[in-house]
Each structure stands twice: as structure tokens, then as C-alpha cells.
């Protein structure tokens, strides 16, 4: 198996929304001692194409999310290798993302995470129902430049303020930009909790990330 075939297989697995294939190709990349950052780029290129298709309206949410899951399956294997070598993968910037505590909705958050990855950011997705202190710990651990907080419910939106307040208390607020989003969030609410940015759409969140990080 040539390096080119492995890289092509990685990209195709994302296009085909096939997590098992993505994991298989990632393992082959490790076995063949390919540069894990190059292999990761193959996954990123493919998810970027999916993201572009989504933005054009040619592809839809199920395509985007399934492709993202395939990418995650490959990424988990490659990032373990990257971490074991002490190499830091930053891409355009390091992002921590998650749905706040009390809220278990993750579709919108997954869309933003996928499109950020597609755009070239290094994304650490903490998942759903994440406590404020866990967000703060992740920002510190990954030395994140951007924190993206999702809340679908108006009842959980205030949890976003709690995260921002805790960042302030921990002395991290000046080091990380915070963007908020979700069905229950408005531009006015985002301003009221001193978030750095808000956008109602996933593609808009990516533009916001570029603008806030200057990349």
C-alpha cells in the first residue's frame, strides 16, 4: 500500500461517511509510519470539501454530521500518535467546543465543530452537558485560543455566563475568545454576558472564528 493510496483512502472514508474505514486507514497510516500531520490533513481536506458542499446547499446535515463522525474516528487514532510525539497540532487555531451543563443538544454544536475542522482549526469537542469548570480546565489544558459554547434552551443559556465568569476568575479570560450560539441565544444576550461573538448559523460561526483570531 503506497502512502498516496492510504491518504486517498482516508479522504474517501470521510466522503463515504464510513467511520470504520476511516479508522482502518488511520491505523494503516500509523503502521506505514506516515507523518500523522499529513494524514490528518487528508481527513481535513476531505471534510472541507464536505463543508463546502454543505455551504453551497449540495449536501445536507446528515452528510455533514456523518462525514464528521467518520473524520473523528480517524482523527482519534492520528491525534494519539501526534500527542505521543509531543507535537502540538494547532492548525489555524485551537478551539474548545461543547454544549453547556444541563443541555444535551449537540446537533448545532457538531455542525460548528465540523465546519471549524473543515476550515483548518484544531477542534477539541468536549461533548454535551459540560460543566463550567470542565470548560475552563479544557481551555487551560489545550491552551485554547477560542472557546465555543452551545446552548439550545433558554433555560441553559445562563450557563454560558457562568463559564465566562469562571474564566475570568481563573485568570484565563484575556487569553481566550469566547463565542456563543444555539437556538436560545440572541445577539443581545451574547453582548449582555460579555461574549466576544455570536452568530446564528454554523458557517457564520466559522467566519467569526477567523475574524476573532485574525486568521
Amino acid at each position: 500500500m503506497t502512502a498516496e493510496e492510504i491518504l486517498q483512502g482516508l479522504g474517501q472514508a470521510v466522503t463515504d461517511c464510513d467511520p470504520e474505514a476511516a479508522a482502518d486507514w488511520a491505523r494503516q497510516a500509523v503502521d506505514a509510519q506516515l507523518d500523522p500531520l499529513v494524514a490528518l490533513a487528508a481527513l481535513t481536506d476531505s471534510i472541507r470539501a464536505v463543508g463546502d458542499g454543505f455551504a453551497r446547499g449540495d449536501l445536507w446535515l446528515p452528510d455533514l454530521i456523518a462525514a464528521a463522525e467518520a473524520m473523528s474516528a480517524g482523527t482519534a487514532i492520528l491525534e494519539a500518535v501526534i500527542a505521543s510525539r509531543g507535537v502540538r497540532h494547532e492548525g489555524l487555531g485551537v478551539v474548545v467546543i461543547g454544549t453547556v451543563f444541563g443541555d444535551i443538544h449537540d446537533i448545532g454544536k457538531n455542525m460548528v465543530a465540523t465546519l471549524l475542522r473543515a476550515a483548518g482549526f484544531a477542534v477539541h469537542d468536549l461533548g454535551i452537558n459540560i460543566k463550567a469548570e470542565d470548560f475552563v480546565a479544557a481551555v487551560r489544558r489545550y491552551d485554547a485560543q477560542l472557546l465555543a459554547l452551545s446552548a439550545l434552551l433558554s433555560t441553559t443559556a445562563t450557563e454560558q455566563k457562568k463559564v465566562i465568569d469562571l474564566l475570568q476568575e481563573a485568570g484565563l479570560r484575556d487569553r481566550v475568545k469566547v463565542i456563543v450560539g444555539g437556538g436560545g441565544i440572541t445577539r443581545e444576550f451574547a453582548a449582555s454576558i460579555a461574549a466576544d461573538g455570536y452568530d446564528p448559523t454554523a458557517p457564520g460561526a466559522v467566519k467569526l472564528a477567523h475574524a476573532l483570531l485574525g486568521v
Binding site: 461517511c17 445536507w60 456523518a66 463522525e69 444535551i104 449537540d106 446564528p200 448559523t201
Partner: protein, 479 residues
């Protein structure tokens, strides 16, 4: 391979099955005792020779029930209609149904909503839009009744020629006023099949012109569409069942005439009835009573088994492309689809038979897609029941969005209207608060920005121009 159209997977019956016979017996009683009026001597003589009781002085023909039943049995239950492009052929009969378009005397100014005579360019552009719409399966008689300063009397042949030049979908044509002398020549010159349409004169009358046209359709070997038009409370009883009996008696009289003339003649039975607007005296298009009439008529004629069409979903009382037009067309279309049509007029008409516009047709195409999706029903299988999938996903945090099952099914399950706003509220505000009409206008521009395609060769155009010249000369000389 014919056009797919939609296959009805579910149906609606509003008359108890054991009362269908009351409608049929009512029509037979009217045909046998009251009779139907025919205005020409040839028909009276011909039907007398078939066993009908003919009152020549009154022009009244009374039909024996056995002759009616025998004639009904002769008419095909399904048949094909060939389009210029075989991919656009139609298969009429059974549970398949198609969409066609209505028409207007004039076009409408989109900004002022005022009617005006269309130009030739607008007429052609309208055909190009009808050609482009995915759910517009076949062309109606004409989009507008004429254009520029053309005399109305040649509007039908002029329109048929433009249909042939700018579309490869099947077309029907209005047979009246001798128009078919020329439209049939055009179809024959190009090797096209055309659906000849004649209309009754309710109540219970067929004009000599309609009979003459029917005979020409039969002689030309084309399929014949008969269209009724009782206005409930005016030219038919105010009640839907009574009005259906009048319309059915008219159709059955023509079925007898045509099947005796040419056994096995392909016939499409068209219902075009509406309540009478008791304020203005015009047809109350869009009223739910028109759909009740369609539903009863459709159920009876499905019982007979002949392919049938409904005209009224294509006509509304709304004056502009707004909420009233949407609910009048949407409700009428879904009820016609569920109660058994083989084809219905839906697209294009804006206000009764007065105005039409391609932007309305674009909006209507979304109604057609939605109606078709619903009427297609649901497949019940292991895969659609998805029990294994449900068990695999389980409760939260499980979800279905990334599952292959979702990617396999969601596009088939959902119909996404091209002109419906589906943005988030914030995107909608930032995008200029666009309405369905804005999206439809943008789609019109996109369709017309495409390269113009001609479906005829220069030699065929020469044939069409020669026949049109003959038509203009014929109608100019005719008193």
C-alpha cells in the same frame, strides 16, 4: 420510459361505496328520460342508428342504458400519450397522476397586479418556464390566450406552434372554432401526438362545433379529452352530487358517440365544475365546493375505470400571488390527487381564467411536489419501521443524524419546496426578509438566464410557418 409523475399510494373516498350506484343510476335516468341536446343533424342521425331515441325537432337524444354500459366498456382503462421526447410520454390510467397547467387571457404585472396583454417574448418565456419545471408533466392548451396584437381567432394555432418550438413535453390543444384544422396539421407535420380537447355546454348540451371537433380528433387518431363545466347553482344543480350527475350525463353521451364511431377510442374525462359566485355570477374558483364536486366525480369515474382529469385546481379567485391563491390551489390539488385524478391542471393560472404568470407556475410547482409526496403515501417495510435502528440508537445521547438510514431515507421522505423560506429567523432578517414570491421571481430569472433551446429544426419551423400562414388566411377570410 414515460414520465414518472406520482403513483397514488393512498386514496380518499367521500361517497360510501354503496351509494356510487345512486350517482350512476341518476346519470342513466337523465340520459334515458331527459336526454342530451345535440345541435347537428349528422349526430342525431348517427345516434338514432345506434339505438338512441331521437327527437329531431328538439335536438334531444335519449340513450338506452345498455348502449351506455356497452360504450363505457369499450373505452380503454389506460393508454399512453406520446410526447416529442419519449422521456416525457404519459401513461394515463390506474393510480399514476400528472400535473399540467391552466391558462389566462392575459398576463399580470407583478408589481401592480394589473392584467395586460402579453408580448410574444413573454409567451415564449412562459413556455420555457413550463418546460423547466420538474413537476409540470404536460402542457395545457395555452399559457395565455394570444399575444401582441394577434387576432384571438388564431391564438390556438399560434400557441401550439410555439409549444412545439420551445418544449418537448406532451401538449393538449383546444379544439374549437376550426383551430384543429391547423393544429393537427402541425402535429402531423412534426410527427407529434396531441391531445384534442372539447368542451360540453352545460346543462346537457354538446354544440355542433364540439361534435365536429370530436370527429376530427377521432379521424386524426389522437386521444380525446372531454371537459364539462357545470357551474353549481347556475348551469348545474347547486348540490355537488346533482352537478356531478349533469356532468356525468354529458360525458357519457359523448362516450357513446365516440365509442360507436371508433370503438376503443382513447378518452380522458375532464371535470371542470365550480360553484357559481352568487354575487358576481362568475365561477367561484377556489371554493371548497369545487373540490367536493371533484371528489365525487373522481370517485364515480374511478368506479367506471376511465382516466380522468380535474381542471379547477388550476383556477382560483385570488387576484394576486398571495395567501388566498396558495390555499385555494393547495387544498384543491391535494383533494384531487387523493380522490383519483390521472391528471390535473394546477400551474400558472393567477385569477380565474383572466390572468396567468410563470412566477405563479413556479410557486405551483412546489404545491405539486408537496401534493405528490403526500399522495404517494408511505412504504411499510422493515426498513421504514426502523425498529432495529431505534434499538441501536437508544435514548439520548443517541441520535439519528449520522446514521446511513437517515442518509438513505430523508430525501425520499421529505419534499423541500424550492420557493419556501427555510432559513433561520436571523438569516431571514439579514437576507432581506424574502418571501416565497421573491424566491419564485429569482427562480424565474434563473430559468430565463439559461440558453434558449429550440426543439424544432429549421425545416420543421418552415412547416409550422406555412401552416400558420394558412390558418391566418383561413380565419381572415372566414365570416
Amino acid at each position: 420510459m414515460a414520465r414518472q409523475g406520482f403513483i397514488r399510494g393512498t386514496s380518499l373516498q367521500i361517497v360510501p361505496e354503496d351509494q356510487i350506484s345512486a350517482l350512476h343510476e341518476g346519470a342513466l335516468k337523465v340520459l334515458g328520460e331527459t336526454g342530451v341536446r345535440f345541435e347537428d343533424a349528422w349526430t342525431l342521425d348517427f345516434l338514432a342508428r345506434q339505438g338512441c331515441a331521437v327527437d329531431e325537432a328538439a335536438g334531444r337524444v335519449r340513450f338506452p342504458p345498455e348502449l351506455v354500459e356497452d360504450s363505457l366498456a369499450q373505452a380503454p382503462r389506460s393508454f399512453s400519450l406520446a410526447a416529442p421526447n419519449p422521456a416525457n410520454d404519459l401513461e394515463l390510467g390506474g393510480d399514476r397522476f400528472y400535473f399540467s397547467h391552466s391558462s389566462g387571457m392575459q398576463t399580470i404585472d407583478l408589481d401592480t397586479l394589473e392584467p395586460r396583454r402579453p408580448t410574444r417574448r413573454e409567451y415564449i418565456d412562459c413556455i420555457r418556464v413550463l418546460q423547466a419545471l420538474p413537476h409540470l408533466d404536460h402542457l395545457g392548451c395555452y399559457p395565455y390566450f394570444g399575444f401582441d396584437d394577434m387576432p384571438d381567432v388564431v391564438a390556438v394555432p399560434e400557441g401550439v406552434a410555439l409549444h412545439m418550438q420551445y418544449s418537448d413535453k406532451h401538449q393538449m390543444t383546444a379544439c374549437s372554432n376550426d383551430a384543429e384544422l391547423f393544429t393537427f396539421q402541425m402535429a402531423q407535420a412534426l410527427g407529434h401526438e396531441i391531445l384534442g380537447t372539447i368542451g360540453s355546454s352545460p346543462p346537457l348540451t354538446w354544440s355542433s362545433g364540439a361534435v365536429t371537433s370530436a370527429r376530427r380528433v377521432v379521424e386524426a387518431g389522437y386521444a380525446l379529452a372531454t371537459v364539462d363545466g357545470a357551474m353549481m347553482g347556475g348551469t348545474g344543480p347547486a348540490t355537488a352530487p346533482g352537478s356531478v350527475i349533469v356532468s356525468t350525463a354529458e360525458h357519457l353521451a359523448m362516450v357513446v358517440l365516440v365509442q360507436c364511431l371508433h370503438p376503443g377510442q382513447r378518452m380522458l374525462i375532464g371535470h371542470f365544475s365550480a360553484p357559481l359566485n352568487m354575487r358576481t355570477g362568475s365561477p367561484a374558483f377556489g371554493q371548497i365546493g369545487a373540490s367536493l364536486s371533484n371528489a365525487i366525480f373522481n370517485q364515480l369515474w374511478r368506479h367506471y375505470g376511465l382516466p380522468l382529469s380535474n381542471g379547477s385546481p388550476g383556477y382560483v379567485s385570488a387576484k394576486g400571488m398571495e395567501f388566498q391563491a396558495g390555499y385555494e390551489k393547495g387544498i384543491a390539488a391535494i383533494l384531487s390527487a387523493l380522490t383519483g385524478v390521472s391528471s390535473m391542471l394546477l400551474h400558472l393560472g393567477v385569477s380565474s381564467e383572466l390572468t396567468a404568470h410563470p412566477v405563479q407556475a413556479i410557486l405551483d410547482d412546489d404545491i405539486a411536489g408537496m401534493v405528490g409526496r403526500f399522495a404517494s403515501g408511505e412504504e411499510m417495510s422493515q426498513d421504514t419501521l426502523a425498529v432495529e435502528l431505534i434499538q441501536g440508537v437508544g435514548p439520548i445521547p443517541g441520535h439519528y443524524l449520522s446514521r446511513p438510514h437517515t442518509r438513505k431515507w430523508w430525501r425520499k421522505e421529505q419534499f423541500m419546496a424550492a420557493t419556501a423560506d427555510s432559513l433561520s429567523y436571523a438569516e431571514w432578517l439579514e437576507g432581506g426578509k424574502k418571501t416565497a414570491l421573491d424566491y419564485a421571481r429569482a427562480k424565474l430569472d434563473a430559468i430565463l438566464a439559461e440558453p434558449e433551446h429550440r426543439f424544432t429544426t429549421p425545416a420543421q419551423d418552415a412547416d409550422l410557418h406555412r401552416i400558420l400562414d394558412e390558418a391566418r388566411d383561413y380565419f381572415a377570410r372566414r365570416p
